[in-house]
């Protein structure tokens, strides 16, 4: 199963069922929100064209709403509307409103004053002027607004997949997380095609002459309504418990695929962004989520990790990895770094992460408090016998570890430390290390195995995902391939995990993933 050699068409053929349902959902989401946006925006546009004093306020508010970043908007909406279709439609609606209101307003106010005066002078009432003169003459401009809104909606609807509303974003974000180009394209190409097709069709409606326009205007709402109904086609079933998995988890062998293969877990699953997933679980919109076992949010949202009793999630033990050159150059370094070995277990790390991510304490303070409590802290010697460069990826746990190493090195050796935190993702950190830009950073065994070494499934099976075997394997391979040394593990395992609310897991007596499966099967 080498994905690099699989062509895009193969992928699309293989996933055609998913692709079709995502496309339908996508069209549905786009047009439900568009329909509502027209129903709200058109009258509002007419209103402000009549009462010009309101126009500044209404257009201002719509403009401000438009500038809210879409992800942030979705975040705001979750506490109010939960996850799924409702907040997605609402967010899309908000983005579609401005072009519709503005173009209705511009269209109507742009109708030649002489024509309006003539209509009035003929004895038309203001409603007759609206429906017989202003709206028909403004229609090309109004349609241009609807067209803009449609294209915006097709684009923004990809984000709906982050809050469990489905759509082509599931492939796009899954593909990005998994670095799977075929998967990204399988979502991005249909989304782009949808935008082009709808834009073209609406441009045709916009440019037809006045006579045909009348029939066009009558047909359009019906077409919108039909397209809006597409949303309801794929989501025909609902289960007792709902799982929310990240796009990345959905596509991984050691994720949803493994859960189906090894556990035979069948649960109603929605795709959702990591950023909102924990909160959604806490607020009971979701029952089971995929997450990381040392995430501070576990504690913040009162969740527990289900035991992976069949071992599908590879071990991700945190280990400082150091270039062999640096170890040679600074002989005391290895011993100093290993002072942390075995000192931090899963729950301790979760707690430390919680302090940084949720209590907003600085990573330095959290690191120092921990070292002091363990009796490891020593005042800096302000030495200048050389400088060790420590890197880290950009999340709290890595900052904390980098801080601890900094304090240990400064306290126990005469070396100085230069921290290069915030090196982005795994690839950036790793190449910085390989290219001698940094001397060390904390890495995880699973990441080394799957991302850097990209081992074949055969090797994976031979390791049976045993923590020691994996550690020994990556240690050996890194030494020979990159001349990089894996020191002793710090102790905690930041791996994938399934989580549930503590209270619910207790009520349903679910402790392991197998328990969850049994519960689902017995409650069909």
């Amino acid at each position: 199963m080498n994905e690099g050699q699989q062509s895009l068409l193969d992928f699309m053929r293989q996933e055609s069922g998913k692709l079709a349902s995502q496309t339908l959902t996508h069209i549905g989401l786009t047009f439900i929100s568009l329909l509502i946006a027209v129903l709200i925006g058109l009258p509002l546009g007419i209103l402000i064209a009549r009462k010009r004093k309101l126009s500044g306020t209404v257009l201002g508010i719509a403009g401000v709403l438009q500038t809210i970043p879409s992800i942030a908007l979705l975040g705001f909406l979750i506490p109010i509307l939960g996850i799924g279709a409702k907040p997605a439609i609402f967010a899309l609606l908000i983005y579609a409103l401005l072009p519709i209101i503005r173009n209705t307003y511009t269209g109507i106010t742009g109708v030649d004053a002489t024509i309006k005066e003539a209509a009035k002078g003929m004895g038309m009432s203001s409603n007759q002027i609206l429906f017989k003169v202003e709206l028909p003459l403004a229609m090309p401009v109004i349609l241009a607004g609807i067209r803009t809104a449609t294209v915006i909606n097709v684009g923004v609807a990809t984000l709906a997949s982050l809050i469990a509303a489905g759509g082509l974003g599931e492939f796009i974000f899954g593909g990005i997380s998994l670095n799977n180009t075929n998967m990204i394209l399988a979502g991005a190409i249909p989304a782009a095609l949808l935008a082009i097709i709808f834009d073209f069709l609406l441009s045709r409606v916009q440019n037809i002459n006045f006579k045909k326009m009348r029939t066009g205007i009558k047909v359009l709402p019906a077409v919108l309504l039909v397209l809006a109904c597409f949303y309801f086609i794929p989501s025909a079933y609902a289960g007792k418990l709902i799982a929310g998995f990240t796009p990345e988890f959905m596509g991984r062998r050691d994720g949803d695929v493994g859960l189906r293969d090894k556990y035979g877990l069948k649960i109603h699953t929605v795709v959702i962004s990591d950023a909102v997933m924990y909160k959604a679980a806490y607020e009971k919109h979701l029952d089971v989520i995929s997450g990381y076992s040392t995430d501070g949010r576990l504690k913040a949202f009162d969740l527990i990790v289900l035991d992976d009793d069949k071992k599908i999630f590879p071990p991700y033990y945190a280990v400082p990895i150091v270039s062999a050159e640096a170890l040679k150059k600074f002989p005391q370094l290895e011993g100093t770094l290993n002072m942390l070995a075995g000192k931090i277990d899963d729950s301790t790390m979760t707690d430390l992460n919680y302090k940084v991510d949720y209590l907003h304490q600085s990573p330095e303070k959290v690191a120092m408090d921990f070292l002091v409590a363990k009796g490891l802290y020593k005042q800096s010697r302000n030495g200048n016998a050389g400088t060790v460069r420590i890197g880290s990826k950009i999340f709290g746990e890595q900052y904390i570890l980098a801080s601890m190493y900094t304090m240990l090195i400064k306290g126990y050796t005469d070396l100085d430390v230069d921290t290069k935190t915030g090196l982005g993702g795994t690839q950036i950190c790793f190449s910085a290390l390989v290219n001698n830009q940094i001397d060390l950073y904390p890495e995880y065994t699973g990441t080394g195995l799957l991302v850097m070494l990209q081992v074949k499934p055969r090797v994976l099976d031979s390791l049976v995902l045993d923590k020691d075997k994996v550690y020994n394997y990556v240690r050996q391979e890194f030494k020979t391939k990159y001349d990089i040394q894996w020191l002793k593990p710090i102790g905690f395992n930041n791996t994938y995990a399934l989580m549930m609310r503590k209270s619910e897991a207790k009520n349903l007596k679910i402790k392991t993933i197998s328990d969850l499966k049994r519960y689902l099967e017995s409650n069909k």
Binding site: T114, K120, G121, M122, G123
Partner: protein, 320 residues
């Protein structure tokens, strides 16, 4: 027919119309004449309530216009605009039928009346299903006129109806306009800044400046008995031509030499203006024309020089 009393309108501090009063008799053509900003258009629009006055009273046929719904009032008053104001999304036929549609006429009545007016206004029926943008400026203005005349309203308001046309089209359409029998029966108030147009078409002229009426009267009255310096100066520039247009053969009949004519076959009516008579004479080969006075049945032959000398005499008498 139409009486305007102490009409007032101000926009902010500017008094657009300042306490004006005038009357228009049935079948009369009243011209509101003046430079831009004199308040003539504002006055016109207050009559069909496109602008509501700040003070004063307007009655049409003895009825105060504020006693009616503005829409109903407007449907009973024809309105012709400078830039036609035709609906670009309506065909010619639909444009003409706007008021009948509002009045809920049946289709046959609308169709018959449309055809009647198209013929009277020299518009081919081929244009019925055409959109206005395919018509020339003159044709558009005719359609605008047809739309205003459609429901045969007794009163017609015209806001610089020929203002957007080129001079040649303007001249010919004005001529047609004068001869149109539909218009002869109507009480018309027309706004213009064109003095020639006012003198050609107006039974009476209301010369306005800065919201006031400077003088209201027949063209001859304005020319020969100007009420003030403003009126005199306003008309000075084109005085000779205007006098030719304002004076009718009837006015100078007694000054014309009474030469008996050979035949009265092509005789013109003494209702003609001096200007019109001059035009006919110069077009004639023998430099003369016969004219009849229907009051006493007298027929006189007029030559170019005779006409001019009589006119000159009349002029001298008037100005003294």
């Amino acid at each position: 027919m139409i009486a305007v009393e102490k009409l007032n309108k101000h926009f902010g501090k500017v008094k657009a119309v300042d306490g004006i009063s005038f009357k228009v008799k049935e079948g009369e053509n009243l011209i509101l004449l003046g430079t831009s900003g004199c308040g003539k258009t504002t006055t016109l629009k207050m009559i069909n309530r496109l602008i509501e006055p700040d003070g004063g009273k307007i009655t049409v046929n003895g009825k105060n216009i504020t006693d009616q719904q503005p829409e109903e009032l407007r449907r009973s008053i024809g309105y012709v605009l400078q830039n036609t104001g035709l609906f670009p999304h309506y065909t010619v036929a639909q444009n003409i039928a706007i008021v009948p549609q509002l009045l809920k006429w049946d289709k046959k009545r609308t169709d018959d009346r449309t055809r009647e007016l198209m013929e009277k206004l020299h518009l081919s029926e081929d244009y019925l299903d055409v959109y206005p943008d395919k018509l020339s400026g003159g044709q558009q203005q005719r359609v605008g006129l047809a739309r205003a005349l459609m429901a045969d309203p007794p009163v017609l308001l015209m806001d610089e109806p020929f203002g957007a046309l080129d001079p040649v089209t303007r001249f010919s359409i004005r001529k047609e306009f004068k001869e149109l029998d539909e218009l002869k029966r109507k009480t018309i108030i027309m706004v213009t800044h064109d003095v020639q147009e006012a003198f050609e078409l107006g039974d009476r002229i209301c010369l306005m400046d800065k919201g006031h009426i400077m003088q209201a009267g027949t063209p001859a009255e304005l020319l020969f008995h100007p009420a003030n310096k403003f009126v005199k100066e306003f008309l000075n520039e084109q005085r000779l031509q205007l006098e030719f247009k304002a004076v009718k053969l009837d006015d100078i009949w007694d000054l014309l030499p009474s030469i008996k004519t050979r035949s009265a076959a092509n005789a013109i009516n003494c209702n003609c203006t001096v200007w019109e008579t001059l035009e006919i004479i110069t077009a004639n080969k023998d430099n003369a024309i016969a004219a009849t006075n229907p009051v006493n049945g007298e027929i006189k032959t007029i030559t170019f020089t005779q006409l001019l000398s009589s006119f000159h005499q009349y002029q001298n008498n008037k100005h003294v």
